[in-house]
């Protein structure tokens, strides 16, 4: 076994020991592609094997469906607790799975999966569990944890601290008038109230490539991680006439494709066209993705475009349609959370803006866009983002009694850009 594999296995065993131990709560920090889903599945299997029933709290219906499919595939009898509106997705397992809107309909299931919003309807006097598992515990807010916490005597929280922070439609100043911060992450609030809780970082990203993992780790994470793949394990084979940005990214993992500096509206047509051209080339040219399982042609499902706003998504999709390209994922950062592709083309959140804003500077947004790929990531942007960062006034309000964020959005943006400087390609 590789040393990365050994470190990963050691971390998994440590998690298992802790779960079987006496800690009231255990937090697992999982960087992008560190095997979080596998971990949850593996732990569920082991817990069921020792006779436990395992309730799992996830954050979205898509996550719940994916997890149920994986658990059923692993042979576990799984219950899907869902809302009235839910319909099973395609590929829904025919065996091993029960579904229901009430706990009572899921009798006999060893594992029960539901969203936090759905679990919040379960009453503690109906049933409680000795151990609950919360997946995506950094996407979940303290407000959601408050509504389900009483169901479980102990908790295992698993999540990626580099995700987008919980969001509210309410006015921030009004919420800040509270003596608590209900929009803290579930993992953050638990660690604040139970500082002795062990935090076990998964040390290896199996998704990110050897040359892209260190950049993500340095810019967005306080606990360092490395790539599990060796430099020779994977590569992208391109046709000789590939766009220089694709060629560079195939070799180095990264490319920062810069269009001439300009202040442009957020649906920047030149950026839309560039992204669509790159995608078109990727899916029409003869591109192969190679990894230890062997080479295979790059399919449309292997490519994603990450954008910041929904109107950007609409424009990129329309541009792809005009080029006759379908089947390529185009989505915003918050919808790409937890997903993975071979190649990702990312719209830099600050591209072409005159002024940065807190929304566009959020570390999680850039981190999600830049950490969905296995082979390569091309960040496309207008030049001048550095200027924009430097022009951003350091005037954020400071709320007395709160700690500065562990990862500051402005600094993460700057660090990321600095690390990408050697990969800068100027668009023709």
């Amino acid at each position: 076994m590789s040393s990365a594999g050994a470190r990963h296995e050691a971390a998994i065993e440590e998690v298992w020991d802790r779960v079987r131990g006496t800690d009231r709560a255990v937090v697992v920090d999982s960087p992008p592609g560190a095997g979080k889903s596998t971990l949850v599945r593996e732990l569920a299997k082991r817990l069921v094997a020792v006779g436990e029933h395992v309730p799992i709290v996830v954050q979205t219906n898509d996550q719940a469906d994916d997890l149920v499919i994986a658990l059923a595939g692993a042979g576990l009898s799984t219950g899907r607790l869902h809302g009235q509106e839910w319909t099973p997705p395609t590929g829904w397992p025919r065996t091993k799975v029960r579904t229901g809107t009430k706990l009572g309909e899921l009798g006999g299931c060893d594992v029960i999966v539901g969203t936090a919003a759905k679990w919040a309807f379960v009453k503690a006097d109906e049933r409680t569990w000795p151990l609950g598992v919360i997946d995506e515990a950094y996407q979940m807010s303290a407000a959601a944890l408050v509504r389900v916490g009483h169901l479980f005597d102990r908790l295992l929280l698993v999540g990626d601290p580099g995700q987008l922070a919980p969001f509210t439609v309410a006015d921030e100043h009004s919420v800040r008038s509270l003596a608590t911060w209900p929009l803290d992450t579930a993992a953050g609030t638990l660690l604040r109230h139970h500082p002795d809780t062990p935090v076990i970082p998964l040390p290896v990203s199996w998704r990110l490539a050897p040359h892209t993992a260190p950049v993500i780790s340095d810019a967005f994470y306080t606990r360092a991680f490395t790539a599990g793949a060796a430099p020779t394990d994977r590569r992208l084979e391109l046709a000789s006439l590939a766009h220089p940005a694709l060629a560079h990214a195939a070799e180095h993992g990264w490319a920062l494709l810069e269009l001439p500096a300009a202040h442009v509206p957020r649906t920047d047509p030149a950026l839309v066209a560039t992204l669509a051209d790159l995608v078109h080339q990727l899916v029409t040219a003869d591109v192969s993705t190679v990894d230890p399982s062997g080479p295979r042609p790059l399919s449309r499902a292997d490519v994603a475009v990450g954008v910041v706003h929904r109107d950007q998504k609409a424009h990129v999709e329309a541009a792809l349609q005009r080029r006759g390209v379908t089947g390529v994922t185009v989505d915003t950062a918050n919808r790409l959370q937890g997903r993975q592709y071979e190649v990702v083309l990312a719209w830099h959140p600050l591209s072409g803006r005159r002024d940065a804003s807190a929304f566009h500077l959020e570390a999680g947004r850039l981190c999600v866009l830049a950490s969905r790929h296995r082979q390569a990531c091309v960040v496309v942007s207008r030049a001048g983002v550095e200027e924009q960062l430097h022009a951003y006034p350091a005037a954020e309000p400071v709320w007395l009694g709160t700690d500065p964020p562990q990862v500051d959005g402005w600094e993460a943006n700057r660090a990321f850009l600095e690390r990408l400087a050697p990969h800068r390609i100027t668009a023709r």
Binding site: S177, P265, H390, A394, A395, P397, L400
Partner: protein
């Protein structure tokens, strides 16, 4: 310059005019007079309150420092250099530097635990139930960052100056001091970046003249580009720059959101001509702006045109519980 003035570098790092103003250390009193701005300053009542509270809080510092920093100390001791060891010190009128800029606060209070020195800052805005005006706290944090950075420059071992400061405020409606720890590490880092950039500010020769005042000062500053935006009302040049912006009809006069949406389109007249189809867009970027504004114009026209378009059969209220 006092720390507040240097902290101003973080207010508008994107505005060259503001950067020039600070890099040239222009006297703000002279400037206000030259551009005809209100003199500003502090209310006599605020000054009195400040003095009273500082006096009261100073007497209680050993207790607060003990509670929040775990440092056992007596009343503050006068010092004339960066102290070492454990204790509480007042350093009056220190002559510090940050890069080349003089930093001359009236006084710095420092609490040492033997290893680290923590700045202690007394301010007289209220802390109500543990909550203080976040904009004021942010301002204090930026000024403290200047002090921390200047002390680090003066210290033989810079890491010994901690960015964790003790902020002392009056509690609720009284004058009883209450302490809160405030970590200004992010502000210190940002300040470092801003100072790196300041070195690159290209000062017009005329601004380097000492005691430049009146119209000559205004002209020298006006020769440097300004960047009008949401943060401008707190800038000493505000009244001057906004008149400029009004004369030219720049979209930025209406705020950052307008400037961001309009991108390369500089004036409101131009943007509206695009919105109303009275001018054909030059290039793709303008086309995109024209599309977006035209959609807004159409929606606005629809709404004020008052066509009785139905949004549904009757009121859509009611509970769907």
């Amino acid at each position: 310059m006092d720390p507040r003035r240097i902290a101003g570098l973080l207010d508008a790092p994107g505005c060259r005019r503001r950067q020039a103003l600070d890099a040239a250390q222009v006297d703000l009193g002279l400037l206000a007079e030259a551009i005809g701005a209100p003199p500003g300053g502090q209310s006599p009542y605020a000054r009195e309150r400040d003095g009273t509270f500082t006096h009261l809080a100073t007497a209680r510092l050993p207790e607060l420092v003990g509670r929040h920093l775990g440092i056992d100390c007596e009343a503050a001791v006068e010092t004339s250099e960066l102290p070492v060891g454990a204790g509480l010190w007042v350093w009056r009128e220190p002559k510090l530097r940050l890069r080349d800029l003089p930093v001359t606060p009236e006084r710095i209070v420092l609490a040492g635990d033997g290893t680290l020195l923590h700045p202690v800052e007394i301010r007289s805005y209220a802390c109500l139930d543990g909550h203080a005006d976040p904009a004021k706290v942010a301002g204090t944090a930026r000024e403290l960052a200047v002090v921390v950075a200047a002390l680090r420059q003066a210290a033989p071992v810079p890491e010994r100056v901690s960015s964790r400061c003790l902020l002392v405020l009056p509690r609720n409606f009284g004058l009883a001091p209450v302490g809160t720890l405030l970590d200004v590490a992010p502000q210190v880092r940002r300040l470092g970046w801003s100072l790196d950039r300041l070195d690159a500010v290209d000062l017009p020769a005329r601004l380097r003249l000492p005691d430049l005042g009146g119209q000559a000062l205004v002209n020298a500053l006006a020769a440097v580009d300004a960047r009008f935006g949401d943060g401008c009302p707190s800038c000493p040049m505000y009244t001057h720059c906004r008149q400029d912006a009004e004369r030219t009809g720049t979209v930025a006069r209406a705020g950052g959101a307008a400037a961001n949406l309009c991108g390369p389109v500089g004036t409101a007249v131009h943007a509206l001509a695009l919105a109303h189809g009275e001018r054909s867009p030059s290039g793709e970027a303008e086309q995109a702006i024209a599309d977006e504004l035209a959609r807004a114009a159409a929606a606005y026209g629809w709404a004020v045109g008052g066509s009785g378009v139905a949004t549904g059969p009757g009121p859509a209220g009611g509970s769907a519980r």
